[in-house]
């Protein structure tokens, strides 16, 4: 049993390890032998190339970090406020706004009408907001948060705060938020991951090379590494230099660089994800 479980875990991790190895392979050895688990010649050339043409990658990193931070903050603010209001029994319109949110899970206009609204009505095309706003709210997360509030913040606590003269906002900031921190952390992590891994909104809305996030850049270089040459500082490279570019390995190196933050961060956050998964299954 131990072996079976271990084997499956290995299968899950193996492709990543494999890609790391490829990125450290010498390009010529690669052309000769193909992708190997134990390459005949190791090389750092891919990382050197990526480092030298760094501004494209750095910019993509920057866009991704900016979108992730901004997006997570905005979604947490929007969703925590919304979920709190509909969790309060004293809120007269809680039923209306609950249904208003839940309906969006059942029926949506689909990709093309959403595209029309975002590009033609809100004019978000080629702006950072096209990457931030479409992912800002999620009815399912709101439901999880609502459940979290109603289980971890007893009504009595809120009532007593009110009796002590605290306003709704003050109560929310000083009592509700600290008590529901684990729930907020869970949703915050899901959002962070969603923003970091998003490529779809960039595919739809971003044409400006300066606004391309990391995942989307990886997609675009798939067909040609020229993207990075055209947009890098040393575009004056000679033809000979261009031909010597470690194409395959540097693609893999960029895959590694885009994945690394997640690989390092997620074992620490795994606990929250597990918690979030199980909390989501419980309803009031």
């Amino acid at each position: 049993m131990n072996i079976l479980a271990g084997l499956f875990a290995l299968i899950c991790v193996f492709p990543f390890v494999f890609v790391v190895i490829i990125s450290f392979t010498d390009e010529k050895a690669l052309a000769r032998d193909g992708y190997r688990l134990i390459p005949k010649e190791w090389s750092l050339a891919a990382y050197q190339f990526v480092w030298q043409s760094g501004d494209t990658l750095l910019r993509a990193y920057g866009v991704t970090i900016l979108v992730t931070v901004l997006g997570t903050i905005i979604s947490l603010i929007l969703m925590s406020l919304y979920a709190y209001a509909i969790s309060r029994k004293s809120f007269r319109y809680r039923r209306f706004f609950s249904i208003f949110a839940i309906l969006t899970m059942l029926f949506n206009g689909g990709m093309i009408p959403t595209y029309m609204v975002v590009s033609q009505l809100l004019h978000l095309k080629d702006s950072i907001w096209a990457l931030v706003l479409p992912l800002a709210m999620n009815a399912f997360y709101i439901m999880i948060l609502r459940t979290f509030y109603s289980t971890s913040v007893p009504d009595a606590v809120i009532e007593s705060a009110k009796i002590d003269g605290a306003g709704e906002f003050y109560t929310f900031m000083k009592i509700v938020i600290p008590l529901s921190l684990p729930g907020l952390a869970t949703i915050g992590l899901f959002s962070t991951l969603g923003y970091w891994n998003d490529w779809f909104n960039a595919l739809l809305y971003i044409d400006n090379p300066n606004l391309v996030p990391l995942q989307s850049m990886l997609m675009r270089i798939e067909s040609s590494i020229q993207f990075i040459q055209q947009n890098s500082a040393n575009s004056s490279m000679s033809l000979a230099a261009m031909q010597s570019i470690p194409q395959d390995t540097s693609r893999m190196a960029m895959v590694v660089l885009a994945t690394l933050p997640i690989i390092f961060a997620y074992p620490f956050f795994q606990r929250y994800f597990v918690q979030g998964l199980t909390v989501g299954a419980v309803k009031e």
Partner: protein
């Protein structure tokens, strides 16, 4: 009227709290619903914006739908979407439950935690990355798979243009990405099962297999049924990333990789068939809606707490 105003004023703080979110829902969820009328129009983008585009496009009634369903495409994308989702739901269930049982039986808890961390990893990676992973195995001249079959004297296969392998590849990749994550849900409920049941069974002489069959699986079945029904409710929606990134948008594979979601996207970005793609999207939404309602209704009958609404 004054009562209504009074209520608004009394609830003003709460209303203020839901306002930003409600505005978001209005723009990103409800206005697009208005946009679905494009399915009944000969849609043309107008420079004057959203409303002008919608208003100025000519009504064509059900023509977009008629055209869509008269082509092979409608049948193909529906079949692909349903087939892949079914395969992924069934196999995913078997493997995720199996894995959860396996993990729960491991004696060494630290090792179990380590395995779990590994199994969880694919869920955290984007489809772009997974697409690259697949490429490292499937590349024609360099991929590991062709090297391995080379050892057995088999000629290299051009994976990205051979349609017949892709149903297996796509299902495999989908399972690889999600099983570890899904098994957590089942593992959580297995750990919630009363240990004394197993002790009693052991005293009665039940072996491991009998314990699993007569205690674990029956006690898991409500959550299994609910997870499955919820997945069935979403059977008309395919994971766009899986079908777009992993086959690298390869045209020769469309027959086996095109699903409703990718079809709609290509209608928007490449073929420019806005009206027909919107029709396909609307068809997906309507059928999807009916399925969600039905499955939620059934879930409600089984376990009220697990239903969505």
């Amino acid at each position: 009227m004054t009562a209504f105003l009074k209520n608004l004023i009394r609830n003003r703080v709460m209303l203020f709290m839901v306002l930003p979110g409600a505005i978001w829902f209005f723009f990103f969820s409800y206005l697009p619903l208005v946009g679905t009328v494009a399915a009944f129009k000969q849609y043309r983008f107008s420079r004057e914006g959203f409303w002008a585009s919608l208003m100025k496009s000519e009504w064509v009634g059900w023509d977009n739908f008629k055209f869509l369903f008269s082509t092979n495409d409608a049948w193909l994308i529906t079949r692909n979407t349903l087939f892949y989702n079914l395969a992924i739901i069934i196999l995913g269930l078997v493997f995720a439950v199996g894995l959860a049982i396996l993990l729960s039986e491991l004696v060494n808890k630290r090792l179990a935690k380590l395995y779990q961390t590994g199994m969880f990893l694919p869920y955290f990676l984007s489809w772009v990355i997974v697409g690259y992973f697949a490429f490292s195995f499937l590349s024609m001249d360099r991929g590991m798979l062709n090297q391995i079959i080379g050892w057995f004297g088999v000629e290299p296969i051009q994976w990205y243009s051979e349609a017949k392998y892709w149903p297996y590849i796509l299902v495999f990749v989908a399972l690889w990405k999600t099983i570890g994550y899904n098994s957590i849900v089942y593992l959580a409920s297995i750990l919630g099962i009363d240990r004394s049941l197993y002790e009693a069974a052991m005293i009665d002489g039940a072996n491991k297999w009998q314990q699993i069959r007569n205690i674990t699986i029956p006690l898991l079945s409500p959550i299994i049924i609910i997870m499955t029904l919820l997945a069935v409710g979403r059977i008309f929606y395919a994971d766009f990333g899986l079908f777009y990134q992993v086959p690298r948008d390869s045209g020769t594979l469309y027959a086996v990789t095109n699903v409703i979601d990718t079809y709609v996207y290509r209608g928007l970005k490449t073929s420019g068939e806005i009206g027909m793609s919107t029709a396909a999207g609307l068809y997906q939404s309507v059928v999807g809606f009916v399925l969600v309602i039905i499955s939620n209704y059934v879930v409600r009958k089984i376990d009220k707490d697990s239903s969505l609404f």
